[in-house]
Structure formats: C-alpha cells, structure tokens
C-alpha cells in the first residue's frame, strides 16, 4: 500500500486552494511496531506548526513521510509538490561551493542570481564561493536555509534544525527563521524537542504521543514573543505536562 505515490500527482491541482498539508489515517510500522497509528494532521498555507514529542515518538517519521523520504506509509498524505527540508545537520555537499549547493537541483534560468539573493538574505552574501567545510556550524545551517528558501517552497520542513547549534547561535537562527517565514510565508512544520522554541516560533504547537496528535495548542501571542509573558509560561506548563514533564 503506497498511497503517497498515488496521491502526489493530484497535489499540484490542490496547491491553490485548501490546506497545504492534509494527512488522514497515516500509519507507519517498523517491524510490526507501529510508530504512527492513524494520524490526522492538516496545516494551512503559511501556517507555522511546531511538532513536539518525546524521542522515538515518531516526529521524524512524520516529517520524513511529508518529505517523501519514507517509502511505505499507509493512509492518505497530501503535500505540495514544492516542499523541502532543512535537517539537523546542514547536509551541504562539501565538494560544491556554497552558492552551487544553494542552486543544486534548482531548475531556473538564472540560478546564480537566485543563489546570491538567497544567501544575502540569510547574511551569507560574502561566502558565496566558500567551501562548505570552511563554514561555522551556524553559517552552514544558514546556507542550508538559503538552499531551502531559494526553491520558494509551499511547505518547509524543519527537522530539529537548531539542535546542533550553540545557545547564542540558536537564538539568532530562530529570529532569522521567523523573518524568513514572514517574508516568504511557506507553511512550516518544525520538529523540535524544545518547548520554548515551539512557543517562540509557532502558530500552533502539536504533541505527538502514541502515534497520534495528542495535543494541539494554538499559540496566539504577538510576535516578538518573550519567555516571561504570562501566556508563555502557561502554555509551556501545558506542553511539558503533555510530554510527561511536570514542573
């Protein structure tokens, strides 16, 4: 049963109207052990959704399914064709200069101009011709963001993209992602295990538990948000409780 393949061609027609992501009854087993059990999820165009869950809860499996990297999901999955992923590691090709990494697989007439614009937008305009292995962790991850955004995705999948960065870089990157999301307004699914990060960035925070969405919280605070806001603390406690952490 490979519903994803069957569903993919008709997504283009759906891109203009309706939700950006529509998942119904998604089940995924690994060796008889169900990680996702009949999961339903929809994400509106331009909506920023954070997906929380304990390790092993299936967050990454869900993201990989939406990315088209998981071969055998059962259920219906509708995603825009223009979608891309930023992983926890930058995953830049070390043998291609930064701008060539950004344009990899990009089928446009003026790839270099696009790459320059995208890299300038993430503050890497000066590292166009650098080799990826000479970038710092934060720079490499910004290049990965540029590589994703240059494709103007309708859905941007972020798989713990800040987890490997130091605390200060992480704060800067979170601000950058917020700016980029506002400028380009893709639908975003951010997989994270950091409740504060979810509350800082997302319109909606989900908790994945036992293969389903166990909690779905609207985050209505005005941006820029501060962790000392009353609502922040309240929702923080709520999400942490759903994750099995009681303060």
């Amino acid at each position: 049963m490979n519903m994803l393949r069957e569903v993919l061609p008709e997504m283009q027609a759906r891109e203009s109207a309706g939700p950006a992501v529509e998942v119904r009854g998604l089940t995924r087993e690994f060796g008889g052990n169900a990680v996702l059990r009949g999961l339903d999820l929809s994400i509106q165009p331009g909506e920023f959704v954070a997906l929380l869950g304990r390790s092993g809860s299936g967050k990454s499996t869900l993201l990989r399914t939406l990315a088209g990297l998981d071969a055998a999901p059962a259920g219906t999955v509708q995603v825009p064709e223009k979608r891309t992923v930023v992983f926890q590691e930058p995953r830049l090709l070390p043998w291609k200069r930064v701008w060539r990494n950004v344009t990899l697989g990009l089928r446009v007439t003026d790839p270099k101009t696009r790459a320059e614009a995208a890299l300038a937008e993430v503050g890497l305009g000066h590292r166009l011709n650098a080799w990826p292995l000479t970038l710092s962790g934060g720079e490499a991850q910004r290049a990965a963001l540029a590589r994703a955004l240059v494709r103007e995705p309708a859905l941007l999948l972020l798989d713990e993209p800040f987890a490997a960065l130091d605390a200060l870089t992480r704060i800067k990157m979170q601000a950058l992602v917020t700016d980029l999301w506002r400028a380009h307004s893709p639908a975003v699914l951010l997989v994270t295990h950091d409740v504060d990060e979810a509350l800082m960035l997302a319109d909606r925070a989900l908790v994945l538990e036992n293969g389903k969405i166990a909690l779905d919280v609207q985050v209505t605070m005005e941006r820029p948000r501060q962790p000392d806001q009353a609502q922040f603390g309240e929702q923080r406690r709520l999400l942490l409780a759903a994750l099995g952490v009681h303060g």
Binding site: V85, L93, W95, L104, R151
Partner: protein
C-alpha cells in the same frame, strides 16, 4: 606541523648546532652520511665491485647509460607499458566498480567473481599469459592491467557504497533525479576512495612491470638490468633500481598532486 613539533621537542633536547640547520637540510644528513660510509668502504677495497659497486661507480655508469643513449629508449618503453597497462586496468576496474556499486544486478554479476579472482596473486598468471599471448608486449601489458584492476575496483566499489546516505537524502529533497544524485552526490563522495585505489594500482603496476620485464624482454629497464646481470655489470643493476625508484616516486607524486587538485574542497589539503 613540522615547525611546532620542532618547538615542542626543542625543550627536551640539547640545542646543538644541528638545530640551527633548516629541517630539510637536517633530514638529508643521515642518507648522505650513509652514502659516504659506503663510498669509503668501497674505496678501502673491502667490497668487490661485482657485489656492491661504489656510489661513484654507479653514478658514472648511470652517466654512461645516458650519453650512450641506452637509458631513454628503454625508459620510455617501460613508461609506455605501465601507462597502457594502467589505463586499461583502471578503465576496466572503474567500469566494473560503477556497475557493481550503483546497481544490484551489477553487484550480483560482478562482485563474486572479482572477489574470488582478487585472492589469486596476479603474477602467478605469467606462465599462462606467455602461453596465451607469446612473449611480445601483450602479456606484459595484460599483467600490469590485471594488477591495476583490483585495487581500483575494491576501493571505488567500497567508496560508492559508503557514500553518505544523508547527503543522498538531501539530494532527494532538493529534487535531484537518480542520475543527478549519482553525478552530484555519489561520485564526488567516492572520488577520494578512487584516488586511494589509483595510488595502490600505480604501485602494483610498477611491481608487475619489473616482474614482467625480467622474465622476458628485449627492451625496457628490466631488460637493461637482465643484460647487466649476464655481464656482471652490478653497477648497471643499481642504475635500474634507481630508475624504478624514481619512476615509482615520481608517479606517486603526480597522483598526490591530482588529489590536491581534485579534492581542493577539503579544509586542509595534504602536503605533497
């Protein structure tokens, strides 16, 4: 690195005048001393020139080989054999590794046979080669090609299979086709492994050349050495060894230069 290790050890060692010499000069001291001792022993008459000619004799006979025009034609012929054999071996090894590394079918067809064949020392095939191809150029080139095929195959196959899965996944989410993923991700990732294979193949090609030329050849450095043996010209045998060493060293350097050029993306290129 060399400078810092000098700094660190200098505290532990006495700072004699040797320390003031540049490192390159210091490294030459022991080999030069060795040659000087050798020359002195020969000059004292303790070594028969048929057993171990003096370095001065070796240099003189080397010069003689150059001026009488014996060296260059034989050198070119030996180089040519290695070039042709190596090219053939590298081509076959590369094609087999690509097919075997990139497709299941190729792996099932190619890999078991190659893995069996590689355990056989290829030099053991020389008698067979002579029976099949006579004593002309063909058996020599086939032996060199055979020896070069396996290191290329084994290293490239392993490197293709070891290409980073995560980078391949990134290629998929960036919309690369399978062909594009192979071209932009898998093959560049396998290039360092291929170059390691190339250096090994080169080493084996020289060994194969030496053996093939010593068994039967009227031309080439090997035949020069064999003739010298027949006439008890030990100095010429040493000349042949020098040439082989220089050729091996020189071609290995070439591959390392190639490595530094092709793998310029590595943060620090290895010193040549």
């Amino acid at each position: 690195m060399s400078a810092s290790s000098g700094e660190i050890t200098s505290g532990l060692m006495s700072r004699g005048s040797l320390w003031r010499l540049p490192r390159g000069v210091r490294r030459c001291i022991a080999p030069i001393a060795l040659i000087a001792v050798w020359q002195a022993i020969a000059a004292a008459g303790w070594l028969s020139p048929q057993t171990m000619p003096a370095p001065s004799l070796i240099v003189a006979s080397f010069w003689n080989l150059i001026v009488t025009g014996q060296l260059w034609p034989n050198l070119l012929i030996s180089l040519g054999r290695v070039l042709v054999g190596l090219t053939a071996g590298v081509t076959v090894g590369t094609l087999m590794a690509l097919w075997s590394g990139l497709t299941r079918l190729g792996e099932d067809v190619v890999d078991p046979s190659v893995q069996m064949a590689r355990t056989l020392p290829h030099l053991a095939l020389i008698p067979l080669m002579i029976l099949w191809f006579g004593i002309g150029e063909t058996p020599k080139i086939v032996i060199i090609a055979l020896g070069a095929t396996f290191p290329i195959y084994l290293n490239l196959f392993a490197a293709i299979r070891g290409a980073d899965r995560k980078l391949q996944e990134a290629g998929v989410v960036l919309g690369l086709t399978r062909q594009e993923t192979i071209w932009h991700v898998v093959l560049p990732a396998a290039l360092p492994g291929f170059l390691v294979g190339l250096r090994q193949a080169l080493g084996i090609a020289w060994i194969s050349l030496v053996v093939a030329e010593q068994i039967n050849a009227n031309t080439g450095i090997g035949s020069l050495v064999m003739n010298a043996r027949d006439f008890l010209q030990t100095d010429v045998i040493f000349d042949g060894l020098l040439v082989y060493a220089a050729l091996g060293l020189g071609t290995d350097r070439l591959v390392r230069l190639l490595e530094n050029r092709l793998l310029a993306w590595r943060p620090v290129s290895l010193p040549v």
